[in-house]
Amino acid sequence: MTKPNKMHRLRLWAAYLIVSLILFGLIGRLAYIQVINNEFYLSKALSHQIRDIPLPALRGDILDRNGMKLAFSMSTFTVWARPADVDDPEAHGEALSTILDESAAGISARISNPESTLVRVAKGLTKSKADLVRNKGLKGVWVTESSKRVYPYGNFAAHIIGHSTEDGDGLSGIEQMLDEALSGLDGKIVSHTDAAGRTLPVGDEKVYEPEDGYNVVLTLDEVIQHFTEKAVDGGLKDFGAKRIMAVVMDPMTGEVLAMTTKPDYDPNTPRELTSFFTAEEIAAMDNDAMFQAWNQIWRNPIVSDTYEPGSTFKLLTAAAGLEEDKVSVNSTFNDKGYIIVNGVRINCLRSNNPHGLQTLTQGLENSCNPVFIEIGQRLGTETFFNYVEDFGFTEKTGILLPAEGNALVQAEERIGPVELATMSFGHGVSTTPIQVATAVSAIVNGGNLMQPLIVKSLSDDEGNVVESFEPKVRRQVISKETSDEMRKMMESVVLKGSGKKAYIPGIGVGGKTGTTEKLVDGRYSKDLAYASFVGFAPVDDPKVVVLVIVDEPKDINFGSVVAAPIAHNILLDTLRYMKVEPEILDAAKMVTVPDLTGKTFKQAQAILDASELLLNTVPIDLDDPEAIVQMQYPAAGEKIRQHSIVILSFDTTH
């Protein structure tokens, strides 16, 4: 019996060394797979094993400043069938017929069609109907839930609210601008599955609750918006214009109280083109043309497009002249009906009958071009441009609405004497309406250029404010004294000058008209024009600034004739709503407002007639006599004058 010798032991140790090295190498390999690079394998593995069932977040509401719902989401239900699984189509058809309001034969034919794998039996069902279908427990038939965006007032404030797709992606307006905040975060149920796709039991399932979207509270006041739309609709009829834009702003805070462009669209049916184009035109559209048409009707021109402000721009020139002491309210000018600038003759509008000797105030009343050309010359290009900049015409206002446009202002170094002259009275410069409203607000509010606001706050579903947008002064442009002088001069324009049609007895209204011929193919057109009016009231304590722009009015082009009356109507209703009382009280009888909530449209009308009160409805074009009054303004029991308007808002979803 020979025993193992030294060589054997040595070789055994060597063998063990080799085995050890290999096994430690494999441990290293394991460390690489399991610890160092495990994310790579883990994420790949999870993509195979994990199944997500989405839990969609509820999209937030859009509300006016008083909490009125302008857009909300609601659940809607769809009934599906898989013909392969439907065992008895006749019985199914019979069972569904009454619930879905369709003939039993029709349903059974559709759900037994062997050519389709999946049939949408019905959509847009209410929860109660969906429950009825569910309770039938039909084989091969099931119900899914989805949400639908509802704009209860149709066209109302359409360009501001915007609209979203069926999947809840904001496409325009606030829906687009604040899409992220409105959308919230979708939740999901994550479960592991085996290789056959079955959910694995015990503890593997994770539920991530959805975070519902925030509600957006607009600065918009539903009542003022309503007045504005009514006035604009009226103007559209009266003047046969192509379109009319109007903005109502609180000059002290920069909050937009109303903003409308008519004609507008119904966000419930945003792709409906029939009210803008003829059937032949629509039929002739290809895909691109269709998209172009949609973008055109969805676009908010008050923020996205520019127009020539014309004479309303003279306010800037006058304010700059006063602020720089180049002119005073009572400085006199002698108008010959024209002025020669650098050898070019520039006419006043009334060149055949010159204004003659006039003060600055009178020059503004008359909207006399040579006066402002002279002020522009006294200021000089550099100073004038400083004011163009300071009043915010070279930058976007930053309002929370999509696709804000830039003003078209020529570069300072390209401005010669003639260009300076024409700019002084508002020609050769293009601005967005929102810029003009913001700049005029600065002129009348004591000189502060405000950040225009459309959104007041974001709040969660419990009503807690998560973000609020406070009024913000961008900069002081003119002094308070200059602002005071400007307000007085603008009041004079309404009392004595071109703005007479905006006059409201007993309330100081200030304003300025503007008329510009449109540039068509690079030339000013004789027939096509923008007629505009910008006004504010009351003069001593401005509460609202109103800008009305009438695009291509028929026959009469003057802002004084076309735009001022619309602004007048808006101001009249709005100031009354804001309880700005005229100073001279007439002897009119006061009446007590009756309680109308819960009454039908017809009943309310009769009661108001008896009290000699007028009425306005929200929505404007309500024609359902059985609609129920939901809210009223003023509240029941308040004393108001005879022939005042009571605003009733109706529930149209009954």
Binding site: R11, V19, L23, I33, V35, K44, A45
Partner: protein, 373 residues
Amino acid sequence: MKNETQGIDYALLVVVMLLVFTGVMMVFSSSFYYAMAKWENKYLFLEKHLVWAGAGVVAMIFFSLIDYKLYRKIAFILFVLSFIFLGLLFTPLGKEVNGAVRWVDIGPLTFMPSEFAKMAAILYMAGFLENRQRKIHKFSSGLLPVLIIVGAYFVLIYKQPNLSNAITISGILMAMAFVAGVNIFQLMTLGAAGGVGIYAAILSSEWRARRFLTFLDPFKDTFGDGWQVIQSLYALGSGGLFGVGLGQSTLNKLYIPEPQNDFIFATVGEELGFVGSSLLILLFLFLIYRCIRIAMNAPDQYGMFLATGITAMLAIHTIINVAVVTSSMPVTGLQLPFISYGGNFLLMLMIAMGIMLNISKQSKSIQTKQRES
């Protein structure tokens, strides 16, 4: 007699029992979902495995009591028998499974001749090497006869085809020859030649070539040959440092085919993490260390060579299995000792451990005697 029973290597016994226990646990953890899904009995593999493991423990105890020197006398008969069994595969008794004939089917009994051959070859080779100790370093009387035996086994097993076991048996016998003292230079030359041969063997068959390429880039073929390896890597990666917990693996839920077999280490890695999988490897390393110690301290050269062969079998199985599961080498079907679901290999392994215990018992008793004298 009292001294002799105290003499067995208890460390070896404890590690083996620990591994057997781990195996029972892992077989159940990895197979219950698969067994439930396919046979609606989640205990199916656990029950069968417990039978194999129980039989294995009994066999280990039984063989630990049998003097290993006895095998020397019957080794030649076993050696001849192993060739007869391997030959049976080429008769109608051979049972075809998945395109390979690896099982002999005799009435109620099916067994794998290659598993039997592994053990028979070790038993025979140990004696063969002891007899040739003095002329082992000479090629004609040392390495050449060894090569003839290796070659005979290799060809017969390779023809089944069962390349992995053919390589394993060759590896075991060559490891024994190495320890016995064959010329290192000759061995290295042979190793180089063997490498070329294996390479040629791989390329000779299309499916083997495909399997080989799969190992180089398993993600190239996610639904074909790469499937098992990828699922195995997913499992290991999902386990991370500490694992997802016993019974919590996802990848053994029908992703890895037959998760209780050759790829059971993937479930170990997923459920017990890097900590668990590396600890298991260290446990094997310790087991191999004990076996090497037993070989060194064997009372005679036959015992030493026998222990060397068994140790080599253990080491080669462990290395190849872990290497396959970690995609460090091409996929070949080899079980992980003690852990993979039962069968002939587990039983044979337990018998081998019984023999190791017997060798350790005798060496200890000799040492004790030496100390006493």
